[in-house]
C-alpha cells in the first residue's frame, strides 16, 4: 500500500462526474427503503424483497464496477499510467493500493447503504441487516478485485464487467442452480445466511467454508493477476 497512490485514486474516483453516480445509487436504495417501509411496514419479509434483488445483485456490483474502473482505467486510457509504473514502487503495491480505493468506495457507497437500508426495513431485527452487510462486504471485495483486474486487462472493462454481472450473476445465476458454485453473489448470500440463520437465500445449500474459501481465492487471485498484468504492461491502442 502506498498512501500517495491511494490519495490520488480517491481523487480520481470522487473528483469528477462519476462521483455523482456513486452518490446517487445509495441514495436511491435508502429512499426506496423508506418508501417500502411506509408502504409495507417493517419486517424481515420486506427486507427480503428489497435487499437481495436491488442491494446485493444490482447496487453492489455496479458500485464496485464503477469504483474499480475509475481507479485504473482512466490512467490507462490517457497513457499516464506509464508515469506511475516508472516509479520505483512494486506493481503489487500499486495494484493493492488501487484495490484499497475501490474497496473503500464499495464499502462507503454500497455496503454501508445496504446496512442502513436493512436497519430501516427491519428495525426490529438488526442482525438481519448486519448479515446482509457482511455478505455485501465479502462480495464487494471480490467484485472490486475482479473488476480491478478486468480494467487492467482491457479497455472495455465496463462493458465486459456489466455483461458478467447482468448475464452471469443475474440472469444465468438466477435460472441455473449449479452456477451458485461459481458466482460471487451466491457466495455472499451463503455468508449472509451463516451470520443470521433465519435467512434462506441459497438453495440447495452451498456451505459456509466453500463460500469463504472461494471468496478468498478470488480476491487473492485477481490481485495477483492484476499485478502480473501491470508487470508486463504495454500501451496499445485500439479504436
Amino acid at each position: 500500500m502506498n498512501a500517495t497512490i491511494v490519495r490520488l485514486g480517491v481523487r480520481a474516483v470522487l473528483g469528477r462526474r462519476r462521483g455523482i453516480m456513486l452518490f446517487i445509487l445509495p441514495v436511491i436504495l435508502i429512499l426506496l427503503a423508506f418508501v417500502v417501509r411506509a408502504l409495507a411496514g417493517e419486517g424481515t419479509d420486506t427486507a427480503g424483497h428489497l435487499l437481495p434483488p436491488l442491494g446485493l445483485h444490482v447496487l453492489l456490483p455496479l458500485v464496485a464496477l464503477i469504483a474499480a474502473s475509475s481507479v485504473l482505467a482512466p490512467e490507462i486510457d490517457d497513457g499516464s499510467i506509464v508515469y506511475l509504473l516508472a516509479k520505483p514502487i512494486s506493481r503489487f503495491t500499486i495494484t493493492s493500493s488501487k484495490l484499497v480505493v475501490a474497496l473503500g468506495c464499495t464499502v462507503v457507497f454500497a455496503v454501508v447503504p445496504i446496512l442502513i437500508a436493512g436497519l430501516i426495513l427491519a428495525t426490529g431485527t438488526p442482525l438481519l441487516a448486519v448479515a446482509y452487510a457482511v455478505g455485501a462486504l465479502v462480495a464487494g471485495t471480490a467484485y472490486a478485485a475482479l473488476f480491478t483486474w478486468l480494467s487492467a486487462l482491457t479497455r472495455h472493462a465496463v462493458v465486459i464487467g456489466l455483461i458478467y454481472v447482468l448475464l452471469w450473476e443475474g440472469l444465468i445465476g438466477g435460472l441455473v442452480s449449479g452456477v451458485r458454485w461459481v458466482s460471487i453473489s451466491w457466495w455472499a448470500s451463503a455468508i449472509a445466511e451463516a451470520v443470521d440463520d433465519r435467512l434462506r437465500l441459497v438453495s440447495p445449500d452451498l456451505g459456509l467454508p466453500y463460500a469463504v474459501i472461494a471468496s478468498v481465492i478470488v480476491v487473492a487471485g485477481f490481485v495477483l493477476l492484476a499485478a502480473r498484468r501491470l508487470q508486463g504492461f504495454n500501451l496499445t491502442g485500439d479504436e
Binding site: 462526474r17 426506496l32 444490482v58 455496479l62 440472469l171
Partner: protein, 301 residues
C-alpha cells in the same frame, strides 16, 4: 558563374507551375444526402460494421442472443403442436430487456460520446449539415439499430407462427401491434441513452450510467410494484410503472392494444392510460430538446 549577390543579375522570381492538380468540379451533395449517409454509417456502426473486428463481437453476439430464444420458442411450439405462441409478441422485449439494455448501453456511447470527447463533431459540422440535423440523425441511427434488435426476434416468431398454421390474422395482428410498441420503445431507449451519453462523454462511464438508468429504474419499479400489489394499493402500482422505459411502454401497449402485460400492475382505465401516453410523448420530446440544447453548448465551447 555569378553569385546570388551579383547586382548585375536580376534576383530569381517565383513561378507557379501548373502541374495538373484539379479541384473537385463534380456535383456537391446537399444536407439531405449528408444526413442520409451519416444515418447509414451510424446504423452500420451500431452493429460494428465499418468498425474494428473487436467492435463487431458484442452487438452481433447480442443480436444472436436476442433471436435465439425466439427460435427455441418456435421449435418448442411446433414440436408440441400448440395453437398459440408460447410467449406473446408483446412480452418479448420485456423478457429480453437485459440484452436490450446492454446493447443500448454499449452502442449509445460509441455513437454519441466519442464525437464530443474527441471533438470530431466539428468535422461533421464543417459539412453542409446543421447541428440539429446531426443530433436528429444520430438519434435516428440509434433508434433504428435498437428497433432492428427488437424486431428481429418478433419476425422469427411470426414466421414460426405462420409456418405452424396458426391463425394468420391473429399472428399478423400480434406482430404488428408489438412492432409498433417496439418502435416507440426503441425511440425512448435511444433518446434517453443518447442524452446520458451526451452528458457523460467518457465512454466507459457513459456505459455504466446508461445501465444504471435502465437497470436501476426497472429494479426499483418492479420492487415497488410487487409490494404495492401485495398491499392492494393498485393506483400506486400502476403509476410507478411510468418511471422505467420498459414498464412505461409495456403499460402503453397494454392500454392501447390490450396486449398481455409483463408487470403485475398494468394501467387499467382511460385516465391512467392517457397519463402513460402523455409521459411517453414528454420523455421523447424532452430528451430530444435536451439533446439539442446540450449540443448547442458542446459545439460553441
Amino acid at each position: 558563374m555569378s553569385s546570388p549577390s551579383d547586382p548585375r543579375v536580376a534576383p530569381p522570381r517565383g513561378v507557379i507551375h501548373d502541374i495538373g492538380y484539379r479541384p473537385y468540379a463534380g456535383p456537391r451533395l446537399g444536407e439531405g444526402q449528408v444526413a442520409f449517409s451519416l444515418f447509414l454509417t451510424g446504423l452500420r456502426n451500431c452493429f460494428g460494421l465499418g468498425r474494428s473486428g473487436k467492435s463487431k463481437v458484442l452487438p452481433l453476439l447480442l443480436l444472436v442472443l436476442m433471436v435465439l430464444p425466439a427460435l427455441i420458442l418456435v421449435a418448442v411450439m411446433v414440436q408440441l403442436k400448440m395453437d398459440q405462441q408460447l410467449l406473446p409478441y408483446a412480452r418479448y422485449a420485456m423478457v429480453t430487456q437485459l440484452l436490450v439494455s446492454v446493447f443500448v448501453a454499449a452502442q449509445a456511447p460509441a455513437l454519441i460520446s466519442r464525437d464530443l470527447r474527441f471533438r470530431t463533431i466539428t468535422l461533421y459540422l464543417a459539412r453542409p449539415l446543421r447541428r440539429s440535423t446531426y443530433v436528429l440523425v444520430r438519434l435516428a441511427s440509434l433508434t433504428a439499430a435498437v428497433f432492428i434488435l427488437l424486431v428481429a426476434p418478433l419476425l422469427v416468431l411470426l414466421l414460426g407462427g405462420l409456418l405452424a398454421d396458426l391463425s394468420v390474422w391473429g399472428q399478423v395482428r400480434g406482430f404488428l401491434e408489438a412492432t409498433a410498441a417496439v418502435l416507440v420503445l426503441a425511440a425512448v431507449l435511444a433518446c434517453l441513452s443518447a442524452l446520458v451519453s451526451a452528458v457523460t462523454t467518457k465512454r466507459g462511464i457513459a456505459v455504466a450510467a446508461v445501465i444504471v438508468v435502465l437497470l436501476v429504474s426497472y429494479t426499483v419499479v418492479s420492487a415497488i410494484q410487487g409490494i404495492s400489489v401485495d398491499q392492494g394499493n393498485d393506483t400506486l402500482g400502476q403509476a410507478v410503472g411510468l418511471f422505467c422505459p420498459f414498464t412505461l411502454i409495456d403499460g402503453l401497449q397494454h392500454w392501447v392494444f390490450n396486449a398481455p402485460p409483463s408487470t403485475p400492475a398494468p394501467p387499467e382505465g382511460t385516465g391512467i392510460g392517457v397519463v402513460f401516453l402523455i409521459v411517453t410523448v414528454l420523455v421523447l420530446a424532452g430528451s430530444v430538446t435536451a439533446m439539442l440544447l446540450r449540443y448547442r453548448k458542446a459545439v460553441s465551447v
